[in-house]
Symmetry: C2
Subunit: 301 residues, 2 copies
């Protein structure tokens, strides 16, 4: 980078490049989002021509050839553009900008970097790729401690202590819900899109009783065929079981923050309240841009 460039002219393009979708943010040094673009050119759609997909994204954004790019998410996985090894959770979040990996630059002169994910190893093995960038943003915004939950297809729960990861726990909540809705015994019961708060809470309570999900989920059917629950409540009850399992597993009284859409924050806040926990919300775009400012700061120095 040009050391004499004024701070106000420095910009960075960040790409949250996941499995199915991609979202690009152009930010300035303060992390203010100047432009944003989302498309469905996630890893699965982009491969194997990541360079071409990348070029089309940049052409659409009309960003200058001097703007550095940082990409996070599955783009750095074994099925992505370039596999970037996981960092060990012992590496503090704020050292993440020191560990970006430069890939072959399809646009000469432009730094193009991929963010590594994190892995926890040992008896408990878990990984994340993409969420680490949002967590760095949370840390940059002063949130250095407690549980952070990032709900979705794979809900990530990450416990931070002074900006260092102590635990990663991934729950296949969204995926199991979608799979059970589409295939097998529960699918006919989970049709439709009804949402019932009391049934969701009943599912949370059933999760708290601690039966394995393979047993508790059959309880959805057992309740319906015995008349203990109307079929219209099956979907919300199953959701409560799966979300409740996350809360049951997250022991302790650490503060809890949710990085997710308003709808998901609402759902998780409802569950947190039922489990006697307080959940604060963090906007996914805001934390992502805060992390990008940290990356830009590192690249510029």
């Amino acid at each position: 980078m040009e050391p004499s460039a004024s701070s106000s002219s420095r910009r960075l393009l960040g790409i949250d490049w996941g499995t199915s979708n991609r979202r690009a943010y152009l930010v300035d040094a303060a992390g203010t989002c100047l432009a944003e673009r989302a498309d469905d050119q996630g890893m699965l759609a982009a491969r194997p021509d990541f360079a071409g997909s990348f070029a089309r994204l940049l052409a659409g954004l009309e960003v200058g050839a001097d703007i550095p790019v940082v990409a996070s998410g599955m783009v750095g996985s074994a099925q992505g553009w370039r596999e970037v090894p996981y960092l060990d959770i012992g590496v503090p979040m704020e050292a993440l900008p020191d560990n970006l990996v430069c890939i072959d630059d399809p646009h000469a002169g432009r730094p193009c970097l991929i963010v590594p994910g994190y892995a926890q190893r040992g008896a408990h093995v878990d990984v994340m790729r993409g969420e680490e960038t949002q967590l760095l943003g949370a840390v940059a915004l002063g949130r250095r401690d407690g549980w952070f939950v990032l709900p979705g297809t794979h809900s990530k729960w990450v416990l931070l202590e002074d900006g260092v990861i102590r635990r990663i726990a991934t729950f296949m909540t969204g995926e199991l819900f979608a799979t059970l809705s589409a295939h097998g015994t529960l699918a006919p019961l989970m049709a439709g899109d009804g949402d019932d708060d009391a049934a969701f809470v009943a599912g949370l309570d059933a999760a708290r009783r601690g039966a394995p999900l393979s047993n508790a989920l059959f309880g959805v059917r057992a309740r319906v065929v015995t008349g203990a629950m109307p079929a219209a409540h099956a979907r919300s009850f199953a959701s409560g079981l799966l979300v409740g399992a996350e809360f049951v597993a997250a022991a302790g009284d650490a503060p809890l923050a949710c990085i997710g859409s308003d709808a998901l924050q609402g759902r998780y806040a409802r569950a947190a309240d039922h489990f006697g926990m307080t959940l604060s919300g963090l906007d996914p775009d805001r934390v992502y841009c805060a992390a990008l400012a940290r990356f830009l700061d590192r690249i510029s120095t």
Copy 2:
């Protein structure tokens, strides 16, 4: 029935009529199996013309019009030939023959009866339909106490005390294994048919650590992508997780019997051994025929 018929001439045709398959057994008063026939005309294939499907089965078996028939399983469900209400678990197993339900007889003069399932209600809701007949057979053979596991698509664990059901717990073990093998994140890892004992045991150990299955199952992927486990072991590890969850949930030191195929008995015996439990095997056909003898005894008096 003709009261003067000699004991040796009394016979009964039992039909284990499940969701996908059907198996018929002709037995004498001692429960000796005189003839057996299996086909794929389960509930899903037979409906809506159960009477026609039933007639074709009987024609193939060439049983006289005076032979009574008892059918168990999903044939008595809401999607079956005739919905038969569940018995409450308070009804002793040996009272099951008193609770058979006569359906409209498509062959005049022949008693045609359906076996009700059992339901446990209250905070823990669970049901079974079909397994109760095998359990009655176990009781008839003198096995009145302990856990009985009937592995399969839906593994049933039933706790008996002096021939009375204290607990029904259904685990969607086989269904989840099949679904995860076919759809979603784990499916590519679970391809093939490899079986590795050490990986199965590692799955049992992971189950014992008690994380929710939605989390523990993601550990299959996390282990593979971090190099902690070869992908070829994913299938056995996932099996260990799901089977292990059953054993973790079955607390206490009650004796444990498995009613299932030799292959399944072997798998569950391996798990039982790892959990410090002793598992005895019961042959599914033998217990079914022992139950049929009890039904015949009741019908004949």
